[in-house]
């Protein structure tokens, strides 16, 4: 399973300050730590970035790829910033990913960008209205995003469907519905659709000492249903990923499997 390292987010004070000061040190240090912990892609979340977003995303992509030979997941609602980032992205290190499109017309242009640059994209199964109620509603939205992707000429294997993980502390009943959605998404196409989640959302608002527990057990259940990728903290989830891969027979067991 692909871990997309979540730690380079503007929400974190240290990262935000480094972004504002264009201080490469902390950004590269966090990128390297995530790669060493098992990340296969690095998320660069620059927020809405309404002013100077293009230049900031360019700087983030080049700064990250100077330090680690990994693709970047470009995370912003600013269309121009995404395109600027894609232009400087080194695809020798892997195909970049756009985070994200959805069923909101304002996010449709992201799909066009993905088709234009032949990159990966997350399709968040939400519309302009409220949050999806259950797995059926999520799958209906997913089908619309898939139809639109084909219309724009984006191969479906480039699309990662995201059921939108919600907070267990406020909407507990959604946790199981999201797990069921992962299974249902895969049935929407042959070969099965790829899936992704923003994992730590499950424990948002929970006490710090239970967050990592919720995140890890939740990931195990999602992986059992065939999850392709998770935006997560690799330090926190790598043991879970390796262990579930062994239990599911995707990796050959050896006593030192955690060290590999």
């Amino acid at each position: 399973m692909l871990i997309i390292g979540e730690k380079l987010s503007i929400i974190a004070k240290r990262v935000r300050e480094a972004m504002m000061k264009r201080d490469k040190g902390p950004i590269q240090e966090i990128a390297v730590a995530q790669k060493n912990a098992g990340a296969g892609m690095i998320d660069a979340n620059i927020g809405p970035a309404e002013d100077g977003g293009e230049e900031l995303m360019e700087w983030m992509v080049t700064t990250i790829q100077e330090a680690v030979q990994l693709p970047v997941c470009l995370d912003t609602t600013n269309y121009a910033a995404i395109e600027a980032g894609l232009k400087v992205h080194n695809n020798d290190y892997g195909t970049p990913m756009i985070n994200s499109t959805s069923n909101d017309p304002e996010r449709f242009p992201m799909l066009e960008l993905a088709a234009k640059y032949d990159c990966l994209i997350i399709g968040l199964t939400v519309g302009k209205g409220g949050l999806p109620a259950d797995e059926e509603e999520r799958s209906a939205i997913a089908a619309e995003i898939m139809a639109r992707a084909m219309e724009y000429g984006l191969p479906l294997e480039n699309l990662y469907l995201d059921p939108l993980v919600l907070q267990i502390a406020t909407t507990q009943e959604q946790a199981v519905k999201v797990i069921k959605t992962i299974k249902m998404f895969q049935e929407l196409n042959d070969p099965p659709m790829k899936t992704v989640v923003g994992l730590s959302n499950i424990s948002n608002g929970c006490p710090k000492d239970v967050r990592h527990i919720l995140n890890r057990y939740y990931l195990a259940l999602l992986m059992y249903e065939g999850l392709t990728a998770a935006i997560a903290d690799p330090v926190e989830v790598i043991e879970t990923v390796k262990t579930i891969d062994v239990i599911m027979g995707k990796t050959l067991y050896a006593h030192s499997y955690l060290e590999m």
Binding site: T251, L252, Y253, A254, H255, S256, E259, M260
Partner: protein, 312 residues
């Protein structure tokens, strides 16, 4: 529309391993199942090494021992005979005389034999211990030093003695055989331990332990097959070294290669029976994924080479 047969392709590839300094040999390197050159690349033939010993092969059956009459009393003559007369592509010297239950030869004796044999042949040499865990860790260390600069294969490192043997192979620029006893998970574990001590996984040869037809061949076959699938389909890098089938040693000690014709006339010619047994065991293990074979009988080697010609 014309029928297009589906092709299976894999993310992983077996590491190619090159040995020797005079005449070099390369085996492994494929990114597909054994001999599936219609689906992927199979750049190298499997390599067959002729087995010789540091002491006369008194426990080999007469049918194979007689091939080496006049040379097997001296490993240097024996090695030259394999290279010059049998056109061996590689020679495997088993230091069986160092075993405490054999002649208990010293590590120094072994080192001298290795030096002498290396001085006599141009083809690559594989240096094998006597499979005595403690003795091998002395003998193979000195043997590896004596062979420094010749790019040999040293073996076999096992769970109980891998550290010293691997360190000696590493320090003297050799490849290394990692042997585990018919257990795919322990095989992976040993390869992990070796790489964790700094041994380059691209210089390893995995020996999942051989067995002869009728004596557990299907276990070896299954472990080899699963190792190869892990290497190719799961792209598991520690399972990507090529594999050894140490065939001769297992075949020429079983009843079918020893029982005389007057006792079991219905089994037919003893010599043909032995040759067939070695050739069938070897070719089966090639189908399971082995890239390096160690064999004894010239006619069995020739039969397997012909088999490979047909499949390559």
């Amino acid at each position: 529309m014309a029928f297009v047969p589906p092709k299976e392709s894999f993310a992983g590839r077996v590491f190619p391993v090159t040995i020797g300094t005079g005449v070099q040999q390369t085996f492994g390197g494929e990114n597909t199942l054994p001999f599936h050159s219609f689906e992927g690349e199979v750049p190298n033939r499997p390599l067959i090494a002729y087995e010789i010993q540091d002491v006369p092969p008194e426990d080999w059956p007469e049918t194979v021992r007689k091939l080496y009459d006049g040379v097997s009393d001296d490993p240097v003559k024996w090695a030259k005979y394999c290279e010059e007369e049998l056109k061996a592509k590689a020679v495997a010297l088993r230091l069986v005389g160092t075993h405490p239950d054999s002649k208990d030869l010293s590590a120094e004796d072994a080192a001298k034999t290795v030096t002498d044999v290396l001085g006599a042949i141009k083809v690559p040499l594989i240096v094998l211990g006597s499979n005595h865990v403690e003795k091998d860790s002395e003998v193979l260390v000195r043997a590896a030093e004596a062979a420094k600069g010749h790019d040999c294969i040293i073996g076999k490192a096992q769970e109980a003695n891998y550290k010293t043997i691997a360190a000696a192979a590493m320090a003297n620029g050799h490849k290394l055989i990692a042997m585990s006893e018919l257990d795919i998970n322990l095989s992976k574990q040993l390869n992990i331990l070796l790489t964790q001590m700094g041994f380059d996984k691209e210089k390893l040869i995995t020996d999942p332990m051989c067995s002869a037809l009728g004596y557990g061949l299907e276990y070896t076959y299954s472990v080899m097959e699963r190792i190869r699938l892990a290497a190719l389909a799961q792209n598991d890098a520690v399972m990507q070294p090529p594999m050894l089938a140490d065939v001769g040693m297992y075949v020429w000690k079983i009843k079918e290669t020893q029982a005389p014709e007057d006792v079991l006339p219905e089994w037919g010619s003893l010599e043909e029976r032995g040759i067939a047994w070695e050739a069938v065991t070897a070719s089966s293990l090639l189908m399971a994924g082995a890239e390096l074979l160690i064999m004894r009988h010239q006619k069995a080697v020739e039969a397997v080479e012909l088999f490979v010609d047909e499949l390559m």
